[in-house]
């Protein structure tokens, strides 16, 4: 059976062709002479037929010529059939053929739209052209790769099956792992004649990936992609602001891969609603981190979107889940204080409050490390803490964090002293707070007076390494502050400010489904592997006409039909 393999390979040896031609011609000539025997027809009265106009004698020269023409027609039909069977083409010149693995890059950057359609569609078109231009003796397998290689077809010569495999290649958001793909192709081609890999890609591979070339395999490169005009969101993070559970702080990293400065609108959405929009100006290749504070995002998910049109859409969006606020532990030390308890209660379930009586202030100081905030409400431990987070109301005694210089009655808050830009006073309105009595405090070095009453500090912030303390110089119960919205806000701000460098609300990272490297869509026209440039893939022009064999078979069929008609119409003999 192996000896007859040429019958099915499309490559017929010349000797077999000649033998077929001789045998077929001999049979035709023999049959033709058999056919020359005239059909005998009995007639009732032959005299009626003799000497008729139009009845030609078989001996006339023109009749003989028609005989020869008829034989020539028959031999032409045989020749056309032979050509159809042999199907002369490149296979006859290149009987061994190549073994192709057509590797189509389906990484994220192949979704760029700088080609007609996308780069992947252009790659499919290149692959189809390669298949249509393949020699009949060639065999091929279609594979695609991103993070992993995938065989899209079997190894064969059927163009329809190969084109189905090409059509099956789907884009991904993964990075292209060229070494794995080449290793896969090498495994497929092992032991096959003239192994060749056609790599159809935009060439966006890392230095490591381009370090080595497969051995023993001819590699051809077909680049796709025309330009690299892309701006991408590389990362997106978000976290809750402790003082305002409905607010979110977001961080976005964007980068331009364009060759010219780019101004792109950046939109932040929550629950499908636009909550912020800004314009970002980026220099060529610039990467910038943008922090967006005080975003009102009640939903658990925010989305960043670049509204500018560029080549790659998949990196123009990023989404991040906003993590919930962590639970805070607060220790309140002092006698019963409904106002303070009410303010703590307003923070909801994000705050767990433990209480100790004022007599146990020293014990509270020892346990301060277990709490996010310790509030000394009208009591002051004997020792000043060196670390921890504290809020003092009306400090007194030797343990007061700030030196005291007596008391002051009916202090009037100086609006000019308010430091509204400090996080502790965010959203607070303390301008007309009425205070019955306050302790006169002397701020230490580094302490910041956030509000005062004409020389008497009322709210002081102390920040030392490992220590953050807020000191309020008056007892809220001796003022109308608890009756104002500013009171619970002050507690919340204190919690937020003191918790900034602790657990707080760690920002979430955007769940980006793609590799940021794929955002660099600049195509690589010349690919180097192992320090050597990969030759370009020469795609033969697809046949615009059917194969010679098909044409010859069609011609033979037409001749046969014509001969059949002419014979039965008695035009030929």
């Amino acid at each position: 059976m192996a000896g007859l393999g040429w019958l099915f390979s499309g490559a017929v040896p010349a000797a077999a062709t000649a033998a077929l031609a001789v045998i077929a011609s001999g049979i035709i000539v023999a049959l033709y002479f058999v056919r020359l025997r005239r059909r005998e027809v009995p007639v009732a009265f032959a005299a009626l037929w003799l000497g008729l106009a139009g009845a030609a004698s078989a001996l006339r020269r023109s009749r003989r010529l028609r005989h020869w023409l008829s034989l020539l027609l028959a031999l032409s039909i045989v020749a056309a059939l032979l050509v159809g069977a042999v199907d002369p083409g490149p296979a006859a010149v290149d009987p061994t053929g190549r073994s192709w693995v057509i590797l189509i890059d389906r990484s994220a950057s192949m979704s760029a739209s700088d080609e007609v359609g996308t780069r992947l569609e252009a790659a499919r078109a290149r692959a189809r052209a390669l298949v249509r231009g393949m020699n009949p003796a060639d065999r091929a397998l279609v594979a695609s790769f991103a993070a992993e290689p995938t065989a899209e077809s079997g190894f064969g010569a059927d163009p329809a099956a190969l084109e189905r495999g090409i059509a099956a290649v789907a884009p991904t958001d993964e990075a292209g792992e060229l070494p794995r793909a080449l290793a896969f192709a090498a495994a497929v081609l092992r032991g096959r004649p003239r192994p060749t890999v056609a790599l159809i890609s935009d060439g966006g591979f890392t230095e490591d990936a381009r370090r080595a070339a497969p051995a023993g395999i001819e590699l051809r490169y077909a680049p796709v992609g025309r330009r690299g005009e892309n701006v991408a969101i590389l990362s997106l993070g978000a976290r809750r602001v402790p003082s305002d559970p409905g607010a979110v702080e977001a961080g976005v990293v964007v980068q331009s891969f364009r060759s010219a400065p780019a101004v792109v609108p950046l939109e932040i959405l929550s629950g499908g609603h636009l909550i912020d929009r800004l314009r970002v100006t980026l220099a060529p290749g610039e990467r910038r981190s943008i922090t967006l504070a005080d975003l009102f995002a009640p939903g658990a998910r925010i989305e960043a979107r670049l509204a500018a049109a560029d080549d790659l859409e998949t990196d123009d969006r990023a989404a991040a889940t906003v993590p919930p606020l962590p639970r805070r532990r607060v220790l309140r030390v002092g006698d019963a204080d409904l106002y303070l308890d009410g303010a703590l209660l307003s923070l909801g379930r994000t705050v767990v409050v433990d209480r100790l009586p004022g007599a146990e202030a020293e014990a509270a100081l020892a346990r301060a490390g277990d709490y996010d905030l310790v509030i000394f409400d009208g009591v002051t431990p004997d020792e000043q803490p060196s670390s921890g987070r504290f809020l003092y109301f009306d400090p007194r005694g030797p343990g007061s964090p700030l030196a005291t210089r007596g008391r002051i009655r009916d202090p009037v808050l100086d609006p000019a002293s308010l430091r509204a830009d400090h996080p502790l006073l965010r959203h607070l309105d303390l301008a007309d707070v009425n205070i019955a009595e306050a302790v006169r405090l002397t701020p230490g070095p580094g302490d910041r007076v956030l509000a005062g009453a004409f020389g008497a500090p009322l709210v002081i912030a102390r920040e030392r390494p490992g220590l953050r303390a807020v000191v309020v110089a008056f007892d809220p119960r001796g003022s109308d502050l608890p009756m104002r919205p500013a009171f619970p806000l002050l507690i919340a701000n204190t919690l937020a400010w003191t918790g900034v460098d602790r657990a707080g609300a760690p920002p979430s990272e955007a769940a980006l489904p793609r590799d940021p490297r794929e955002s660099d869509t600049r195509p690589i026209a010349r690919l180097e592997l192992g320090g050597r440039e990969v030759p370009a893939l020469q795609v033969a022009r697809p046949r615009r006409w059917p194969r010679a064999g098909l044409l010859a078979s069609g011609l033979a069929a037409l001749l046969l039909i014509g001969e059949w008609i002419s014979y039965h119409r008695r035009w030929t003999t």
Partner: protein, 301 residues
Amino acid sequence: MTALAESPARRRFDERFLRRLETLELAVRRAARGQGRGIRRTRRAGAGLELADHRDYVPGDDLRYLDWNLYGRLDRRALRLFEEDEDMAVDVLVDASLSMGMGQPAKLELALQLGAALAYVALANLDRVAVTALGAEPRGLPRQRGKARILGVLGLFEEVAATGRSPLSASLRGFLSRRTRRGRGVAVVISDFYDPAGPRAALDLLRAHRLDPIAVQLTAPDELAPVLRGDLRLRDVETGEAHDLTLSAAAVAAYQRRLSGLRRELEGHCRERGIPCFSVTSDQPLDAVVLRMFRAGGLLG
């Protein structure tokens, strides 16, 4: 008749054919009655009782039959003709040459059926009927009378095959030479009249022997419209001669014109001689042919 129908060898003429003959004979009588003629009569000068017609006097005619009254009134010399019943002799001659076996359907089949039908009508008419098949070896029945004789006729025709290789005129010459009773009579010739001597030769021969011929020319449909084209070897079935020809559509058209000319020549000759002549194709139904012949007149009437 029952024995005829039961014989397995006799398939050409079965009981059903006999019934057709009887029906046909009745139909012929009805047709003849409508024209005032039911039996065979001849028109002769003076021999009968019933005046039939006049004809112009020619020198030599018997002056006894000159219509003197007419001569007196119109000054025209005319001879009175009378109709006379006659015991007539009828010869039914069927050409059984090889050419009659040609055609689809074969001409011989209709020729034999037609001959049988004419013989049956004549026998029923109490005429003396002889039938002869002009094949390689002519076979026939002597003159006989009476309807019952039809079985013999059918028996003879049942065995007839197309075998003759001689032209019609040659066959008739042999038939005439073998005749024992030479008298006037009617000779119905059923043939294709394919004769190298021409179609009129056979009829002239009969007339020369004082027989009034009636010509029935049979042609097959595929002879009228042959589908022959291309390189062929035409072999004459009677002479055996072969001719290599390449036939085109024009040649076939010329053949058709020639065949039509042959038929016209026969009809023209018959018309000139007052011979009844009928052209029939072999695919025509027997009943229609027989009735057409009798309705046309001049045949057994």
